[in-house]
């Protein structure tokens, strides 16, 4: 048995949420990132952005309050916070590309120690994949945090010296959250911020395809 326990998805989402200060404008990608919103209390005013033109997105509605006109970029029904507003797609992505988002939390297949992120395609030869808004977000937000499983199910590295999958953007990731640890991505490469209790640094390093400083 391990002396340590990896974070559950919800624990991971909560860990990310705890690092988001009041006042930031944040876009949450599909998957675990979407769960992050559940762990930001409403009193802490974080302004969530959705690519389809929502600034100030609120949590999922109670079933009886569901509004068919209000979905987020992941096609989930959401709400609008008091103070929220709507924009068209070009204005919405102008906010993204123009650096008006403090943070985008993206899922990732791979992240490299130089900040490269790959999250849209697992092969150079994939012919009809889904890009969506990931490239715009990755290139545009003030900072990119990646939330991901530390390795593949088969144990292959996903945190690497260089990505092997097609890139979403070059050199943009500044922090990585996994079920095992939090890493900053710096000029030196990955720097350990935090790890689950009881997990040895050697063991963590062995699961990581680039040096952890």
């Amino acid at each position: 048995m391990n002396a340590w326990k990896p974070l559950e998805r919800d624990e991971l989402a909560a860990r990310v949420a705890s690092d988001i200060p009041e006042g930031w404008c944040v876009n949450l990608g599909i998957g675990i990132p979407t769960l992050v919103a559940n762990y930001v209390p409403t009193e802490r005013e974080v302004i969530f952005h959705s690519e389809n033109g929502i600034v100030g997105m609120g949590p999922a509605p109670a079933p009886e309050d569901l509004n068919p006109w209000l979905v987020n970029a992941s096609r989930q029904h959401v709400t609008l916070r008091i103070g929220g507003s709507y924009f068209h797609h070009a204005d919405s992505f102008a906010l993204v590309r123009g650096g008006h988002l403090d943070l985008c939390v993206l899922g990732a297949f791979q992240v490299a120690e130089n900040g490269d992120i790959a999250n849209w395609s697992r092969s150079e030869n994939e012919r009809a994949p889904a890009i969506g808004g990931a490239m715009d977000l990755a290139a545009g937000a003030q900072r990119i945090w990646a939330v991901m499983e530390h390795t593949t199910k088969g144990g292959e590295h996903r945190l690497l010296h260089r990505c092997t999958y097609p890139l979403t953007a070059k050199g943009v990731t500044v922090r990585v959250y996994t079920e095992l640890c939090v890493l900053d991505v710096t000029e030196r490469g990955f720097v350990l911020v935090d790890k689950v209790e009881g997990l040895g640094l050697d063991e963590l390093q062995a699961k990581t395809g680039a040096e952890i400083h």
């Binding site: 690519e51 929502i54 068919p68 209000l70 068209h88 808004g133 490239m135 715009d136």
Partner: protein, 229 residues
């Protein structure tokens, strides 16, 4: 008296030719001009280039247009997605050309088309597959890609309210690609849920000015389908 209302979907779509580039607005079926898409399926134009956020889902709407072999090329940000079955069949048979565009670049290329900007540099996609074959240049220290405007022959949009000048407002997340595409085509056709009297729409709240809109048809389409996820 300016009056852009027409009486039927058929009248709204009159004259769309084979080979046209058709911009189709909507996002996750919200603000999607479904009656106009169905009308286009019926209208019969072929060899279309369709610009839409996805390559269609399920078996209706854009998916059906593709499934019936009417689309020569699709320009979108999501090709493969849950439910993109018809596209995948047609694509596997090699019967449709696909241009994948990052969603923000898609919106910006359309905005550029409507704003008379023929091309622009953007950091989105620089150093990725998306930049293959495109001019790249470092500007202010950042690698950028040159992207071209998209301008359609026809745009199909859905408004929440429209007046006889063609002024449009949108409802909540139903805005999405609608105002952008409305500016970016020779012939902009709108289906509106409600008719407003001229002057009912607040001058500061009008999103699309009527000068961008050619024809409006009143379709009480009702709420978008609720997504079961």
């Amino acid at each position: 008296m300016i009056d852009k209302f027409v009486r039927s979907v058929a009248a709204a779509l009159d004259g769309i030719k084979d080979g046209s580039t058709v911009l189709i607005a909507g996002f996750a079926q919200v603000g999607e001009p479904r009656a106009l898409i169905d009308g286009l399926i019926e209208q019969g134009a072929r060899e279309l280039t369709v610009v839409h956020n996805t390559a269609g889902r399920g078996r209706e709407g854009v998916a059906k247009l593709i499934g019936e072999g009417r689309v020569r090329k699709i320009v979108c940000s999501f090709a493969r997605s849950r439910g993109s079955v018809l596209f995948e069949e047609v694509y596997a048979r090699g019967e449709i050309e696909l241009e994948m565009v990052p969603q923000g670049t898609l919106a910006e290329r359309l905005r550029a088309g409507g704003a008379g900007i023929p091309a622009f540099f953007t950091p989105t996609g620089a150093g990725t597959k998306i930049a293959d074959g495109k001019e790249q240049r470092i500007i202010q220290g950042r690698e950028c890609v040159l992207e071209q405007a998209i301008f359609g022959d026809v745009a199909l949009v859905e408004a929440w309210r429209a007046d006889r000048w063609g002024n449009l407002v949108y409802r909540e997340a139903g805005r999405n690609f609608n105002p952008v595409m409305a500016t970016a085509a020779k012939l902009t056709i709108c289906q509106t849920q409600q008719i407003a009297e001229l002057g009912d729409l607040a001058p500061e709240a009008i999103v699309t000015p009527g000068i961008c809109v050619d024809r409006v048809v009143h379709i009480e389409a009702g709420d978008p389908p609720v997504v079961i996820s």
